[in-house]
C-alpha cells in the first residue's frame, strides 16, 4: 500500500472513531435539508429550478463542512505531537498531504452521497434529467475538493484547530465574494475577478447542468494550488 493510501486509511479510521465526521455530516445535511425545503419545495418553481436551488444550498453546506472536516488534519497532529511520526517517516510531504486530503475528501463525498435523496424527491411531482443531477453533483464535488484543499492548507499552517477553521474561512469568504467586487469594476478586471471567484460563475454552470471544461479545470487548479501550498508549508517547517 502506498504511503498516501496508508495515511488516508488511518485518517478515515480516526474520523469515524470520533464523533467529528458524524456531527459535521449530520449538521450539513440538516442545513441542506432546511434550505432545500425553504427555497426548493415551498415556492412554485420548475423542476430544473428546484434542482438548481438544491445545488446552490448544497454548495454552502459543503463549503462549511469542508472547513470543519479539514481543521483537524494537521492542526490536531501538531497539538498532540503525532506530526513527528509523519515527519520522521521515510515518506514525502506530498504523500502526507495527499493521504490526508483523500481521507477528508472521502468524508465529504459521503456527505454528498447522503444528500441524494433530495434531488430524487423532485421526481415525485416533477421531472429533471439525470444528466443535470450528475453534472450538478460533479460541480458540488469539485467545489468541495477546492474548499477542502483551502481548509487543509489552513490546517497545515495553523497552530490549533479553531485557528484553522477561522483561517480557512478568512481565505474562502473573499474567494466566494470576489464577484461582488467584480460588479463594481470595469472590464477587463471584472471578467478576471469573476473567473477567479470560487463560487459565482464557476459554480453556476454546474448548477444549471452545463458541463464546461474550463470550470472543471478551474476547480482542479485551485485544489492543486492549495495542496501544493500545504506541501511547501510542511517542507518549510523543517528549515525553521
Amino acid at each position: 500500500m502506498s504511503p498516501a493510501l496508508l495515511i488516508a486509511r488511518r485518517e478515515l479510521y480516526a474520523y469515524f472513531r470520533s464523533p467529528l465526521a458524524a456531527i459535521v455530516i449530520a449538521g450539513a445535511l440538516l442545513a441542506d435539508g432546511i434550505y432545500f425545503y425553504w427555497k426548493g419545495l415551498s415556492e412554485k418553481l420548475l423542476s430544473a429550478e428546484v434542482l438548481q436551488e438544491f445545488f446552490y444550498g448544497h454548495s454552502g453546506a459543503v463549503a462549511i463542512a469542508s472547513l470543519f472536516i479539514a481543521m483537524r488534519l494537521f492542526a490536531e497532529e501538531r497539538q498532540t505531537g503525532t506530526m513527528t511520526l509523519l515527519n520522521t517517516a521515510p515518506i514525502r510531504d506530498i504523500e502526507v498531504v495527499l493521504g490526508k486530503f483523500l481521507s477528508a475528501f472521502a468524508v465529504l463525498t459521503l456527505l454528498t452521497l447522503l444528500s441524494v435523496y433530495m434531488p430524487l424527491l423532485i421526481f415525485i411531482n416533477g421531472k429533471v434529467s439525470l444528466g443535470h443531477i450528475a453534472v450538478g453533483y460533479l460541480g458540488a464535488t469539485l467545489y468541495g475538493a477546492a474548499t477542502l484543499s483551502i481548509g487543509l492548507f489552513a490546517s497545515a499552517v495553523a497552530r490549533s484547530q479553531v485557528i484553522a477553521v477561522i483561517l480557512g474561512a478568512v481565505m474562502l469568504v473573499p474567494l466566494v465574494l470576489l464577484w461582488i467586487i467584480a460588479r463594481a469594476t470595469d472590464p477587463p478586471l471584472n471578467s478576471f475577478l469573476n473567473a477567479l471567484a470560487i463560487h459565482h460563475e464557476n459554480y453556476r454552470a454546474f448548477m444549471m447542468g452545463l458541463l464546461e471544461l474550463d470550470k472543471v479545470v478551474y476547480y482542479v487548479i485551485v485544489t492543486f494550488f492549495f495542496l501544493l501550498a500545504a506541501t511547501k508549508s510542511l517542507e518549510a517547517r523543517r528549515w525553521r
Binding site: 496508508l6 505531537g81 511520526l85 509523519l86 521515510p90
Partner: protein
C-alpha cells in the same frame, strides 16, 4: 556509525545548537546530558531528520541527513519527549501502521510481535492507546521507534514522568536495545545517564562541552569527593577529618540518616583517603556510620564543566 560535524541549528537569528561535533560507534548507548534548554531536543530532532541543520553535516552510515533524508529516516527510530501516539488506535494496530509507514513490507506482524516482545507490551497489545498508563505509553513510544528494526534509535527523555518501578524497567529496556541498535538518548537526570549509557556527551548552550565515559569525566575533576556520616561531636569529627593528610575541604551537609548526634560531611580530598579518615575518626573517639565515594560525583563534574564554560565565556567577553 553516526558522524556529526560542526552542526549548527538556528531558530530565526537565535542559535539553538552549535557547534556540535561527535561520533557514535555502532552498538553504543550514548547519553546526551544537559540542563533544560541546553539544545538536547533540537540536536536529536536534527539527527532524526525532523529538522534540517542550518550548517554542518550529520551522516548516518555515510548518508547525509540533507541529501538522503528518506534513507536516513528508514534507518532511524525516534521517540520524541512526548510519544507520538494515536489514542484511538489499539497498540498492535498502531505498531502495524508505524511499521508500514517506515517502509516495512512483507511480514509486518512479525515486526510488530518482535517490538511488542522487546518492550514487554504483550498484555496491553489489544488495548486502546488512550486507556494506557504513562509508563505503557512510553513503552509504545519506544516500540514504534524500533518496530522497523532501525540501526539507530534516538530517545528524547525516555524516563520522563515514569514512576520508580517503571524507571528500572525502562533502564533495562534501553540497555537491551544497545548492541542490536545504536542508541542516543537525552536526559537532564544524571543518575539515568550513569545507569544506562556507555558514553556521555555533555551539552550546554548548544555546545558539546565534554564527552567520554563516566570514569573519564569524573577523572577530569580535581580530587575525590567523599561522603562521611558519623555519630559524635561535630567539631571533633571535623577536626579529625581536616587533620588527615590529603584532605582539602570539609563541609557539613544534611545528615543522611536520622538519630541523635548524627552528622554528615562532604569531603574533598586529593586522593581516596577513606581508610585514613576512618582511622582518624575512630582514634578521635568518633563513631563512623558510613563513609564512601560521593554518589553525586558526576553531578559535581557536570556543574564544574558548566562553570568552566561560564568562566571561559566571561574571560572571552572581558578580553
Amino acid at each position: 556509525m553516526i558522524e556529526i560535524r560542526d552542526l549548527y541549528k538556528y531558530y530565526g537569528g537565535r542559535r539553538a545548537v552549535g557547534p556540535v561535533s561527535a561520533t557514535i560507534e555502532p552498538g553504543e548507548v550514548v547519553g546526551l546530558l544537559g540542563l533544560n534548554g541546553a539544545g538536547k531536543t533540537t540536536t536529536l530532532r536534527v539527527l532524526a531528520c525532523d529538522l534540517l541543520p542550518s550548517a554542518g553535516s550529520v551522516t548516518v552510515d555515510g548518508l547525509d541527513v540533507v541529501d538522503s533524508p528518506h534513507e536516513v529516516r528508514a534507518r532511524t527510530g525516534y521517540l520524541p519527549d512526548s510519544p507520538p501516539l494515536y489514542g484511538e488506535m489499539k497498540v498492535d494496530e498502531f505498531l502495524g501502521f508505524a511499521a508500514r509507514l517506515r517502509g516495512v513490507s512483507g511480514d509486518v506482524d512479525k515486526h510488530v510481535r518482535e517490538a511488542v516482545e522487546k518492550t514487554a507490551l504483550k498484555k496491553v497489545e489489544s488495548q486502546l492507546i488512550s486507556t494506557l498508563s504513562h509508563g505503557f505509553r512510553q513503552r509504545v513510544g519506544i516500540a514504534q521507534a524500533i518496530v522497523h528494526n532501525p540501526k539507530f534509535v534516538v530517545l528524547d527523555e525516555p524516563i520522563s514522568g515514569l514512576d520508580p518501578r517503571q524507571i528500572v524497567e525502562m533502564r533495562k529496556l534501553v540497555r537491551r536495545l544497545g548492541g542490536d541498535h545504536t542508541v542516543l538518548l537525552s536526559s537532564h537526570i544524571l543518575s539515568e545517564i550513569e545507569a544506562t549509557c556507555d558514553r556521555l556527551l555533555v551539552i550546554r548552550d548548544g555546545e558539546i562541552i565534554a564527552s567520554g565515559s563516566e570514569e573519564e569525566l569524573t577523572s577530569r575533576t580535581e580530587g575525590v569527593r567523599l561522603e562521611v556520616t558519623v555519630r559524635g561531636d561535630e567539631a571533633a569529627a571535623r577536626a579529625a577529618i581536616v587533620a588527615v593528610d590529603g584532605v582539602d575541604e570539609v563541609a557539613s551537609v544534611e545528615a543522611d540518616e536520622s538519630g541523635e548526634n548524627v552528622n554528615s560531611f562532604s569531603v574533598t580530598a586529593r586522593d581516596d583517603v577513606r581508610a585514613d579518615i576512618c582511622q582518624a575518626l575512630v582514634s578521635g573517639g568518633v563513631g563512623v556510620l558510613a563513609i564512601g565515594r560521593g554518589e553525586r560525583e558526576l553531578e559535581s563534574v557536570f556543574l564544574e564543566l558548566s562553570q568552566d564554560a561560564d568562566d571561559a565565556e566571561q574571560k572571552g567577553a572581558t578580553a
